[in-house]
Symmetry: C2
Subunit: 154 residues, 2 copies
DNA sequence: CACGAGTTGTTCGAATTTGAATCAATGGTT
DNA sequence: AACCATTGATTCAAATTCGAACAACTCGTG
């Protein structure tokens, strides 16, 4: 007995497209960032999130949530970035266990230097390839997909 | 002077959605596969591609193309899978350098055992979350994105 | 105040990934 | 036949990833 609902052709095309694009786009952008700014994609994302946060700082846990990395992976990356002078650690006054990752001036400068090339690459491989309707479908559909996975996992 | 065309809100939502979904879906499915069948996502993909190929075999290079892994990563995975009895290597008669990865009976059985749970998970987190229109947008849009990255890189 | 459950971030070991270097073999050209 | 640029796959060291175990701490409850 096999009650599995297999994917029909439309579904399979969507799934394969998503899977392939996911791998290829990530790969391409990681390469572009490394060549262009010496940052890995995860590191770039950390800088972006910090830059968007008030005072350019976030708790390690907040940074780990909704990010590619696991907790330990984040510890590793922040350590690397601290060595490179892009962020520094600050312990939380109200909770001794807590640690803030703080964007340094050098980190902000590095992000601003990297951003134009990165955005251009994102346009090239994804955004400018899609129609407005497809952009909306991605935003709505994949936004919902992410939302569900986030709250299920959290 | 800054001629960068930054992303507007619609574009940013699409990009963020894609990025987050890409990471979260991959992560979730890798976890599901490991728990359920002891296969990593890359390994599962290798089995799928081999199963779809004539005689269940492909050259290493063919297998590496359009796959997540680099060449050396593929060598590693195939070695692991060979140890596990899921594939075997066969040298190419017409080109001594060439190597085929061949799906074994055990490999095919393992794939068939893993597939229902995997497809169900793919539905749960992605396919059944999207509307038919969104599925088509993913298939068309991301299909085109992948196609371009493939031929650009190859 | 003492206790215990839950949280926070790090450390640890193992597995995986990558790019560069390597080795061997092919094919075309002279 | 000799040469040389390419190709196919592996090996190697280094970087990165993950989960599990850990240590330190907070908070609510008794």
């Amino acid at each position: 007995m096999d009650g599995t609902r297999w994917l029909d052709e439309r579904e399979m095309r969507a799934w394969r497209g998503f899977l392939a694009a996911s791998a290829l786009v990530n790969r391409h952008l990681d390469q572009q960032l490394k060549d262009d700014s010496g940052l890995s994609h995860p590191q770039y994302e950390i800088l972006v999130r910090l830059a968007a946060a008030p005072d350019g700082e976030l708790r390690m846990t907040e940074l780990a949530n909704g990010l590619i990395n696991s907790k330990s992976g984040l510890t590793y990356q922040v350590t690397q970035m601290e060595k490179a002078g892009l962020v520094r650690r600050r312990s939380c006054p109200s909770d001794v266990r807590g640690v803030f990752a703080v964007l340094t001036d050098a980190g902000r400068a590095r992000l601003e230097a990297a951003a134009p090339g990165h955005v251009t690459a994102v346009r090239e491989v994804l955004v400018d390839v899609l129609t407005p309707a497809q952009l909306d479908a991605l935003a709505d559909g994949l936004g919902e997909v992410s939302r569900r996975l986030r709250e299920q996992g959290g």
